[in-house]
Amino acid sequence: MTDSEKKLKLTVNGKEVESAPGEMLIAAAEKAGVLIPRFCYHPRLEPVGVCRMCLVEVKGPRGFTLQPACYIAVADGMEVVTDSDKAKKAQDGVLEFLLANHPLDCPVCDKGGECPLQDQTLTFGPSESRFVEEKRHFEKPIAISKLVYLDRERCIQCDRCTRFAADIAGEALIDFEGRGGELHIATFPDKPFASYFSGNTAQICPVGALTTTPYRFKARPWDLEQVESTCVSCAVGCQMVVQSSENEIVRYLGIDSEAVNQSWLCDKGRFGFESVSSAERIPSPYFNEASGMVETGWSQALDKIAKALKSAEPESVAVIGGSHMANEDIYTWVKLAKGVIGTDSVDAQLDDGLDPKIVALSDRATIQEATQAKLLILMAGDLREELPILFLRIRSAAKKAGLKILEISLSETSLSEEAEVSLRYFPGHAEELVNGLFGAEIDPQLFAGDLQAARALVSSVDPASVVVVGGRENLADSSLDPERAIAKLLDTLVGSKFLSGLRRGNVNGAIDLGMVPGFVPGRSQLQAGNEALRAKWKTLPRKAGRNSKEILESALKGEIKVLFLLGADLISDFSDSALAEKALSNIPMVVGIDTLTNRTTSHCSVVLPATAFAERHGSTTNIEGRVSTLGKKLVGFSLSRPEWMIAVELAAYMGEDLGFENLHDIWGEIQEVSQLHRGLSIAALGAPGAKEGIVVPLSASKVQISTRRVLDPIATPGITSVGVSGPPSSSAALPGEGDPVLSESTYSPQRSKLLELLAQNDRAKAGPEADNFALVVSKRLYDHGVEVMSAKHLSELVAPSKGRVSPKGWGQIGLNGSGLTRLQGNGASVELELVVDPSLLDGVVKVEFDGALGEVSKLFGVDNSTSRVKMEKV
């Protein structure tokens, strides 16, 4: 019997309680139904025992003494009394002290109504204060960042926010300042609390000391309506609660999903809701005519599109985008495009991801498996910028459980500090480096890092216990090199698993459901049989299709007649914006289906309004393949419709019946045609037992269904009573309480040698050049993308793109003091600020992608070679 399985017995209030070694008394008591009051204790943070609210009587050698329940571990035979007069007097006394300096401005406090201090004072505290002296005063409130306000008078110094910042986020930008009566939370002067995770501190603050700017004075908690949902601002799939007031979202709160986000949200996810009520929302269908955008009706618009489709050859129709859509939308659009129109030129990725074969045909790991792997190999962009909560999970696994990380990247990332070994490579040489990792000779000029140590690290572990996180780090280079490197890793390390590092909301669901060229729903390839599909679909594409880049290139040649853009702002998001602009002007019918007006809207012939997040039911798929629900809390904006409905209607105008009236119909068909999804229905997802979503494929070993525990019962009390968020029930029987009824899927990945499925990389290998720098363009969290820019408070955080060069490169350009530099490449010239980054190889410049500003994307074309830029001092 191991230590963790061993059970201890203790007595709480005369009742026998079972517990495991190492558990804190407060948690053991809570499991037994005894709620001990607390402020500083938070199950996801290290205990500190500073607020003293949880004092209870524990029997020791000198009889019963008062001890903090959050700070003592359980012991066998422990006797505890939590409701004696002595314990109550202690708790009452602590509350009186905490309230001595508390301003009691509850009527104007955002926390009022859901405040642990209010609630626990009512339950455990004194009814009157004996403190008649002047309370301490601070200027209130002060903005410690653009998103968080700090009111130091309300603070009870519980240390939750500072522990979160230091231990979980790893950025101690706030700390206690002063001592005794002067103790208060402070940032360093002129260094704001600019953390990607700052919103979490407001969620865990047990008083109204930390409040968020977007929610400030917006609503009272008792007026809020709420529903559970899944965040889609990146592909981690964080579980959260959407809270709304008067048909407007006012805030999101993280839910404690053990498997995914463990109660945390990043600020982009948390505050992105403002884009839903943005003034940029598209209210109705539009025709783009010479006189400008002309409002029209759904029937006219769909009729026009259907006519264009009828006169077009299947191969001349293409679909780009859809990675933000729900699974049901994706399946319906895939069916329309591949099964009715008959084109395979459908791509949810905007040339910023990986070959879908890697994602679809590898053995997939869950986040849990990645954090418990013997070795985690990172070959993705900076996870803090791209998948922030995955970064938190990996960081804390490395810090607390000693997760070993091998990082293979172009420059230092936020996880480099936790990595056992970091290897760097010159752009375009990832595959060589991976070959080197497995013993091949490599050119030392093109690499940095301790290769010997990396080889030792890889050979020291069982290959089957390795997880590879693979993503796209560099937009300015062909994806083939990192793809081949990832494939080589997965092939050579037999039994290793892959965790997708693709960042767009539901891009992993899009791959699972065939919204990529060469695939059909269920992670299966177009050529492979597809009998189930032939029974359900009218047709199947005759030819393998094109990816986004190829679609745009064929558009230049006039080969594309109808292009659907499903939430794809090509001109902002496609890495080669010049190509996108030229291609769009060469397509007779461009249909833009989107929620927000963006830079591409004016290039569309027809614009259709789609419903936004929280305006529709559905489900989404995260990086693990975990399918979880999207909750509906708002009435759809104006004339907008869910994307699946648009596809069904459009098919009807073409004289075809897709056969879907509701989401249950769609799931019914998905289950029939996709082995991967067999056993999973949206009714199952909405069942009370499936609160963390369900990972596909369902197999006996992999089904992870758990009922959520109440993480922090004193705070955000509403979360426990949130309704289940499945769609309105139809004839499909909803499972009852408890676990959803699931049958095991027979799906198994058709994994062969991944490397053999990819194209050969036969382009010339180029190393550093004397007067050209190799360009690396990477994503960051707050870019100029339309979602960030249309959320008021997030848009204020967007900073101009910066670049990085090695110290030698800095000297080479002749920079001194100011880093303002002119970059020239691909016929364009861009000025930006450079900083020195010693982790970069010489001859490389790394630039942050700037989305809709569209400056950086001018610097490179997508011509499958390492992009080069000339640089000169300004």
Binding site: A172, D175, G178, T187, F188, P189
Partner: protein
């Protein structure tokens, strides 16, 4: 000049080398910065954070806890008058009142010429010479009002330079030798004692388990 000078930076690295954990050097480095600038400037806190691998907020958090570290500018001489019980009974409060009058400033303030900062202090362990005070942490006492005036005049006239260095200098004697026990040995010793403790706990747990199964 508020970051470390070249010479001070050398000393900073010497200090850092004394500790197995860099973070442990935070307070010594704060004193070093005060020795150079008289108080802890923001720039030096940022630099210290870089040196010890923490954030400026954490350095400020630590520094603001301690009375001997000043994050605001102070005079060349920080005069701390003890008002704790022994000195209080001997007229410490009155001495503080006189000091305010003599220096023309309130407690906590600095004279316009930047020479003196006046503070009240808790017990400075100089009770046998009550009422006592410290000037830059050097003891003086027992003091009468006249004695205080003389002290201030002497300090202003520079007569006590040899006894009282400017604020921030804790000691004018610098360590000339490396630490007697090499760092490797400290680390080794620590590892050994950790291992021993681990063994002891494991043995104890094993014994308990045995007892439990009986």
């Amino acid at each position: 000049m508020s970051r470390f000078t070249k010479e001070m930076e050398t000393r900073a690295y010497e200090l850092l080398a004394l500790y197995p954990e860099k973070r442990s050097a935070t307070i010594p480095l704060c004193h070093l910065a005060q020795e150079q600038n008289g108080y802890l400037t923001e720039e030096s806190m940022v630099q210290i954070a870089d040196l010890v691998g923490t954030t400026p907020a954490e350095v400020l958090g630590a520094a603001s806890f301690y009375d001997m570290l000043h994050t605001e500018p102070v005079g060349k001489y920080v005069v701390g008058v003890c008002t704790n019980i022994a000195c209080l009974l001997q007229g410490g409060e009155e001495l503080l009142g006189h000091a305010e009058e003599k220096l023309g400033i309130a407690t906590g303030a600095t004279t316009d010429d930047g020479m003196f900062t006046l503070e009240d202090m808790e017990c400075i362990a100089h009770c046998d010479h009550a009422p006592a005070l410290q000037v830059n942490y050097r003891f003086f006492g027992p003091l009468t009002n006249d004695g205080f005036d003389t002290l201030v005049d002497d300090l202003s006239a520079g007569k006590l330079e040899s006894e009282v260095p400017p604020h921030g200098t804790l000691s004018r004697v610098q360590r000339k030798h490396p630490i007697a026990v090499p760092l490797e040995e400290i680390v080794r010793h620590r590892r050994d004692s950790d291992a021993k403790e681990g063994e002891r706990l494991a043995a104890k747990a094993a014994a308990e388990a045995k007892e439990g199964s009986n």
